[in-house]
């Protein structure tokens, strides 16, 4: 059984009708109750819920503080390579773009690791484009072997792998996996990914559960907001997370809410998701998934991130460099996207403390 079967069950569901009929009273009934059925979640994503954001925010804050306390985990990404064979319309690393392609050597990885660890980070998210020839599993294994020495927790955000390959990388030091479906609507998925192995919708859809089955401690999923109707996309993201929680109760399941950012190629997202809508998305996810970590990256600006901290977010990235090798040598390379929050780690820590929260750099300690 795959999540696809659950997703397919909504094929003929009248989303527009349900969302249109949902009233503010329906929203308040869900917020006041304990039921967390899929349609309760969808109720909170309805246009009517936009008028109940304050009530949703209070509920979300209460749920988050009870489950996670007043604590925010800080992490940062490290891009190993920007070689990619895919043609994702929204991504700067698109194989069709004429950008300088780079790949870090093991020495350069060590340099980057030192620079990042020097900033205080202990939780690192390792990223690469999809290129099995330039960045094969053996390269990733070697890179993790180096990074293990610097970081007690390592996450991966890379192309989807087989169960055996995930096992190899866990063995090499990976603790967590982030993989976004990008868009759950198969038609839009096909349009957004015109060429390359990423065209395989199902291999990607099942990747989080292959990782979970391989023994990954946690998986974070998400839809790239802006590619299709955000209400449905968020609904399926939530359902996917709940499915993973049910099937792999030992795995920490998280969700992320990335919005499309300016990129090489000038892709304009077909759907706009404004700040109020992003807030509604986070609040609805928090209610539906009380125990799921929610990440907000430097795709969002400081003002918004500081406000979202109080509403359900549990992890934020900081001091993000989305170009390959940019930590040790800031002058190099093309960014995957332009970060919107360019504050230093110290500035972000101070902002978190000012909100009454504790910034933490470490939330896991690799045991082997």
């Amino acid at each position: 059984m795959s999540f696809w079967e659950e997703l397919r069950a909504y094929k003929d569901f009248d989303f527009d009708g349900f969302l249109r009929r949902t009233s503010p009273e329906d929203v308040r009934r869900v917020l006041g109750g304990e039921s967390r059925a899929p349609l309760d979640f969808l109720t909170l994503l309805a246009p009517a819920a936009a008028g109940c954001l304050e009530e949703m925010a209070r509920r979300a804050q209460d749920i988050t503080r009870r489950n996670f306390g007043n604590v925010i985990l800080l992490y940062t990404p490290l891009y190993l390579a920007n070689h990619c064979v895919n043609h994702c319309r929204y991504c700067s690393f698109n194989a069709g773009h004429r950008i300088e392609r780079r790949q870090l050597s093991m020495d350069e990885i060590r340099e980057e690791a030192e620079a990042i660890a020097g900033l205080g980070f202990q939780d690192l998210l390792v990223l690469t484009g999809e290129s099995r020839s330039v960045t094969p599993i053996s390269y990733l294994e070697e890179a993790l072997g180096v990074l293990k020495g610097y970081f007690p927790a390592l996450g991966l955000e890379i192309y989807p792998l087989t169960t055996d390959e995930y096992r190899r990388l866990i063995e090499a030091g990976a603790d967590y996996l982030t993989i976004y479906q990008e868009v759950y609507n198969p038609q839009v998925y096909a349009y957004m990914h015109p060429r390359g192995p990423k065209r395989d919708y199902f291999f990607r859809l099942d990747a989080p559960e292959r990782a979970a089955a391989s023994g990954m401690r946690g998986v974070t999923i998400g839809a790239l907001l802006g590619l299709d109707d955000w209400r449905r996309e968020t609904f399926f993201t939530g359902l996917h997370a709940a499915y993973l929680q049910r099937k792999f109760p030992q795995v920490e399941v998280g969700v992320s809410v990335p919005r499309v950012r300016p990129n090489v190629g000038g892709f304009i997202p077909p759907v706009s998701v404004d700040d109020r809508e992003l807030t509604q998305i986070i609040l609805a996810l928090r209610f539906f998934l009380p125990r799921a970590g929610i990440s907000v990256s430097t795709r969002e600006r400081p003002w918004l991130r500081d406000h979202l901290l109080r509403l359900g977010v549990t992890r934020i990235s900081a001091a993000s460099v989305t170009a390959v090798g940019g930590h040790a040598r800031p002058e190099v390379g093309t960014e995957q996207f332009q970060p919107a929050d360019n504050r230093t780690v110290e500035e972000i820590k101070a902002a978190i403390i000012a909100c009454g929260y504790q910034p933490v750099f470490k939330d896991w300690h690799r045991l082997w």
């Binding site: 007043n70 604590v71 205080g120 401690r217 009454g356 504790q358 470490k362 300690h365």
Partner: protein
């Protein structure tokens, strides 16, 4: 009489019967919370202990006379819990350990079976082991046998602030587990619930979320301290029997007195 009332665990004699969890509190609030609570045992997740930057550590905010009880949060089986306990000891966190083995991330319910395994191994190694468990008498007896220093049954799921939902089972543990202390961990949301637990005869309570999420955590820590003391004294004083029925003016068994006349 209450002057000599002490809780003895792992050879330590404790005056306070309130343990405090740190996982949800900003570090800077810790000293105030610890002082107001009068606690002598504070639990810290090893997964959060930052070995590289001591100033970022919750441990740095805990006074020296307070026992640090590292917990094995994040462990998914006995093997991981044992490894975490050893790491904590090697890092200088002492030999107390709260075993937390969680195989359900959604409800954070403890895995009793793995917990027994980890307790047995660590107790043999000389750790003072306090396992977090579902309130199950059979498991608590097993833990008693394998050398646990106390048992820590949950009152309700972690972070739920729902109070003593497992009251009937806690009552059984209080009754039957007599060689080691019974400490209610998780679920206590209000000082009155801590007092109720102590009145039942549990030996101590551990509170985290209720203090951390209070509007004024320091004031709440003091309120819990007072509640735990009141509940304990109520228990020691011997609560009067309560009855649902008022004494009838014409007792149903009054005739028995007539017979005896």
């Amino acid at each position: 009489m209450t002057k000599e009332d002490r809780l003895v665990i792992g050879g330590k004699s404790l005056k306070s019967r309130l343990f405090i969890g740190t996982g949800k509190l900003p570090n800077k609030l810790l000293p105030g919370v610890i002082a107001a609570s009068g606690t002598e045992v504070v639990t810290v997740a090893l997964r959060r202990v930052d070995f590289r930057s001591p100033q970022e550590n919750p441990v740095a905010y805990i006074p020296e006379n307070v026992i640090i009880m590292p917990n094995t949060s994040g462990a998914r089986n006995a093997e991981e819990a044992v490894k975490i306990a050893r790491l904590a000891q090697a890092a200088g966190c002492g030999n107390w350990v709260k075993i937390e083995v969680i195989t359900d991330q959604k409800y954070l319910l403890p895995d009793n079976e793995e917990t027994v395994k980890a307790t047995e191994i660590l107790a043999k190694e000389g750790f003072v082991v306090l396992p977090y468990i579902m309130p199950d008498l059979i498991i608590a007896r097993r833990l008693e046998e394998v050398g646990a220093a106390a048992v820590m049954p949950l009152g309700a799921p972690i972070g739920s602030n729902r109070g003593l939902r497992s009251r009937e089972f806690l009552r059984i543990l209080v009754e039957e587990i007599t060689t080691i202390p019974v400490i209610v961990d998780a679920g206590i949301g209000k000082p009155s619930e801590a007092a109720a637990a102590m009145e039942m005869g549990v030996d101590a309570v551990l509170v985290n979320t209720a203090v951390a999420t209070a509007g004024d955590p320091v004031l709440m820590a003091g309120a819990f301290a007072a509640a735990v003391k009141a509940g304990r004294e109520g228990y020691l004083a011997g609560l009067g029997p309560s009855s649902l029925y008022a004494s009838a003016s014409s007792p149903l068994t009054g005739f028995l007195h007539e017979v005896s006349k």
